[in-house]
């Protein structure tokens, strides 16, 4: 796999590469040469099937990571291309002209993460949710439990006592290095 990475390195700048498994190589590229790399991979290498395309929310670094997984069924190997895009205004080039199933991936990512793919045919059309007014739910800063409690509410009548508190109350647990 490494010589294949060299081949890519020759054309595009590979930020990092990690041979996760003998049949899975992961590389990281800059956003600017993501689409050229994918187009090159599709047109003149064995990796022309887009197996999977999704986003990961690295909220601490303020970035989304787009992951394209291309598989070469003849050589029985996969290549995972990871691209970091800015989280504040997340936009990326659409690849639906290379792979038709990318339309659905992009539609879902716009709805779930808010990553816009200008030119993607079905961007903005509801895929999974209907009448959703909150921030895109798959973002890390969306708290689904609080939303569920507030929007739907749970069945009342359940009480829970934390064993730790019950022991502390029953036996008066105090610390002497600090004034509680």
């Amino acid at each position: 796999m490494n010589e294949f990475v060299q081949e890519i390195q020759a054309r595009f700048e590979v930020l990092w590469s990690n041979p996760q498994r003998p049949d899975l190589m992961q590389i990281g590229v800059r956003q600017v040469n993501a689409l050229p790399l994918l187009t090159w991979l599709k047109s003149n290498t064995g990796y022309f099937i887009l197996n999977h395309f999704s986003a990961v929310d690295w909220i601490e670094d303020g970035e989304f990571q787009l992951t394209y997984l291309l598989t070469d069924y003849a050589a029985r190997r996969s290549l995972m291309v990871c691209v970091r895009i800015d989280r504040a205004a997340p936009t990326a080039e659409s690849v639906h002209h290379l792979w038709p199933e990318a339309v659905t991936y992009e539609q879902e990512m716009f709805e779930m993460f808010g990553i816009s793919f200008p030119g993607s045919p079905r961007q903005g059309v509801d895929l999974l949710l209907e009448g959703w007014e909150d921030i895109p739910p798959m973002r890390r800063d969306f708290d689904t439990a609080a939303f569920a409690e507030e929007a739907f509410g749970f069945r009342p009548g359940r009480t829970h006592t934390n064993p730790r508190d019950r022991v502390a109350i029953a036996f008066g647990q105090k610390g002497f290095l600090h004034d509680h």
């Binding site: 996760q20 099937i49 197996n51 990961v56 199933e101 339309v103 659905t104 689904t144 439990a145």
Partner: protein, 374 residues
């Protein structure tokens, strides 16, 4: 949600909606008809959306183990295996020999149950009442074996990180053999009514065609691609578990229509039965069934990402898992086979299809809505 067709002339717009006996699972097809033939169709999902991936980000590793098998109801075990395999790869856990064989057994039994159900679905979609009844009964016998092995009927929650939760019960092999023989005994009757029946052949041959040119563009897999002559099977291309030691053949056929896809399933049932017999025979008799895993309350896995794939009855299923050093998953993306089949491929197959053939086509692909929307 409605998508208006801006250039409406004299087409009837119809919703083969979520409440419809003729839709596999819970999804809607918005079709534009002229007379009985479909001009264009758009698949709508979201009716079973529970946000698994969001829920898994709030659950410790051991806690996302039971929720994963709820993703696809007819075939839950592929999800269990894929999550276990990805977390084990990232967490650095190797499973014992017997667990490898037990997992292969469970995957093949689940595949057999799903294939048998799909054969019933294929026949039922064209109006045959008898075959779905038989196939659901055969599937029920397999569920009884599952219940005996894993403790659960449909959701097994059996393949946990590090191996499996229980060993084979005593006398399981004989009872499983009896079930397999029941299936084999019923297959000729199914052939009589479907593959050898003139009406069924007329309803399925040349209907729901897939074009080999799509293979280059889309990640089609499973019976849909094997019906076009491509011998693509993850168990052969990217072998996992005990499949390298098993001999089974990848069934292909030509024609790319409903008949070809159902024929492949019919032969894959025989292959699955053969595999199950081999697994039960070659399985090591003793040895541990699970490797020890760290304390589940505080288990942290260092940062990493991986993509693990397996062959479900509908095609190639993959899990993209990212961990970030905490005790929860950063991101899991479930890529089911129906994600490509249900949207891109199905919408191309709808064109020119008779509305009466919509249901047989959907069943033959097949599309499993919960897998498409998770």
């Amino acid at each position: 949600m409605t998508i208006e067709n801006p250039h409406v002339e004299k087409e009837t717009q119809l919703w083969v909606g979520p409440q419809h006996p003729g839709v596999t699972g819970n999804m809607a097809i918005q079709v534009w008809l002229t007379g009985d033939t479909i001009q264009r169709g758009i698949t709508h999902v979201g009716y079973l959306h529970r946000g698994f991936e969001k829920l898994m980000e709030r659950r410790k590793f051991i806690q996302s183990f039971p929720i994963v098998c709820r993703i696809c109801v007819p075939e839950p075990d592929t999800n269990e295996y894929l999550l276990a395999a990805s977390i084990e790869e990232l967490g650095g856990i190797t499973i014992p020999e017997k667990a490898v064989w037990l997992r292969t057994l469970v995957l093949e039994m689940s595949r057999l149950a799903s294939l048998v159900q799909q054969i019933g679905g294929g026949a039922g979609a064209t109006g045959l009442g008898a075959v779905p009844n038989w196939t659901y009964t055969l599937r029920d016998y397999i569920l009884d074996s599952f219940e005996e092995l894993t403790g659960g009927r449909v959701y097994h929650m059996y393949m946990v990180y590090g191996g499996v939760r229980r060993d084979l019960p005593v006398g399981f092999a004989e009872r499983m053999e009896a079930t397999l023989r029941k299936i084999e005994e019923r297959l000729p009757y199914i052939d009589k009514v479907t593959f050898q029946s003139s009406v069924w052949r007329e309803r399925t041959q040349g209907v729901g065609l897939t074009d080999p040119a799509w293979v280059k563009e889309m990640g089609i897999s499973g019976p849909a691609i094997r019906a076009m002559g491509f011998a693509r099977d993850v168990r052969r291309d990217f072998p996992y578990l005990a499949y390298p030691e098993l001999d089974f053949s990848v069934i292909t056929s030509t024609g790319g229509d409903i008949y070809a896809r159902m024929e492949i399933r019919r032969h894959e049932v025989v292959e699955s039965i053969k595999i199950i017999r081999q697994v039960l025979q070659k399985m090591p008799k003793d040895g541990p069934v699970a490797a020890p895993i760290p304390n589940v309350f505080t288990w942290r896995i260092p940062t990493g990402q991986t993509y693990v794939r397996a062959e479900a009855s509908r095609g190639e299923m993959g899990y993209y898992t990212v961990t970030d050093g905490s005790d929860k998953v950063r991101r899991v993306h479930v890529r089911g086979a129906s994600y490509v089949h249900g949207f891109a491929m199905a919408e191309r197959m709808f064109e020119g299809l008779n509305i009466a053939d919509l249901h047989p086509t959907l069943v033959s692909i097949p599309t499993c809505p919960p897998e498409m929307e998770r």
